[in-house]
Subunit: 200 residues, 2 copies
């Protein structure tokens, strides 16, 4: 016999499908919601539907958008001359938070991964190449992850974009700020040494 | 400028109100739901509404119920002679899992707590006393938490119930099974010594 009434068991099951939510936290959330005002629960229920209904992809860069263009592509104050290429929409958040970038984005929706069966056709690259061919793009910063797949994707993009006469750069790799050399792995340290800069 | 479209920001805000969900996990859940099939999201949204709409309190013991009585009170195979008293509905789960109890429950909906301003009037005790007065209850097991508030509540209930001619017991306290004496605190160990049993 289940310990909770069916509607509670059902909600626990649905919550457990979410990332980072196990049986214990699902149960904790349900107990919280049982005590919470009905308005809070219906607000959450509505937000879920509304998000799924209204949020699509930007026609130009694949980032989340309500309508045709995302608010980066639609922003007249941002430069169209530099495009930062990321694997997933979630990677845009840290780039924005750095405060160092005021250009456009392009989301590949993945990275080349023979292991996971992701090949070049699965990536969203055509739109990026088209934007470059249309002119106005001076630099493409490749900000794919510093992993084997991300590196392979960076090289693949470099070979596609370079012939179009555009500057192609890769984000710097090395010791994270605040990190400790003692705990740095050898590959990161090798990258940090290759990427050394003159002090001025 | 927010980094995400408004419906995403709204959902993140609503999710952050749930226990154990911070900004990072809220964002992770939203990214997951953006990729998930629309059916999964509407199922979750519906489960939330349905749970809040249909689940109330058992008229007799205050546990969660769809309808008048919870499935413990409505179960003809459980004994009405023993009532286990707990502070919160969530405490019933571990008692059930122990497999050692086949009686009825009573949920107090809290514990006496001068610090948090919870006094005797705030607890759901009348229903329990009424059940005992009606007859048929032979033993009340007080399973409030082994905290100062839980102990005070146990003593308070003992004084109310004992005069009604019913056996009143308290769950055993001591070293948890699988625990290590080396790490036991002195209060728990004192309880374990007081609660010692003859080996047979």
């Amino acid at each position: 016999m289940p310990i909770f009434p069916a509607p509670i068991e059902k909600l626990i099951e649905d919550l457990k499908k979410l990332p980072g939510i196990g049986p214990k936290s699902a149960q904790r959330i349900v107990f919280h919601l049982l005590k919470a005002p009905a308005e809070q629960v219906s607000a959450l229920s509505l937000s879920l539907q509304e998000m799924k209904r209204s949020v699509g992809r930007c026609r130009r860069c694949n980032y989340f958008a309500v309508g045709e263009l995302c608010h980066f592509c639609a922003d007249p104050n941002r430069s169209h001359a530099v495009v930062c290429v990321v694997e997933e929409p979630s990677a845009i958040l840290p780039v924005e938070k750095s405060g160092e970038f005021k250009g456009m984005y392009h989301v590949l929706m993945g990275s080349l991964s023979p292991v996971h069966g992701v090949s070049a056709e699965d990536l969203q690259v055509d739109g990026l190449l088209e934007r470059i061919r249309e002119g106005g793009v001076e630099e493409v910063i490749i900000a794919t992850n510093p992993t084997m797949d991300g590196e392979a994707t960076a090289l693949y993009l470099y070979r596609l974009i370079k012939p179009l006469g555009c500057r192609v750069t890769r984000i710097g790799m090395g010791i994270p700020v605040g990190g400790d050399l003692e705990y740095a792995d050898e590959v990161t340290l090798a990258r940090a040494l290759i990427g050394r800069r003159d002090l001025s």
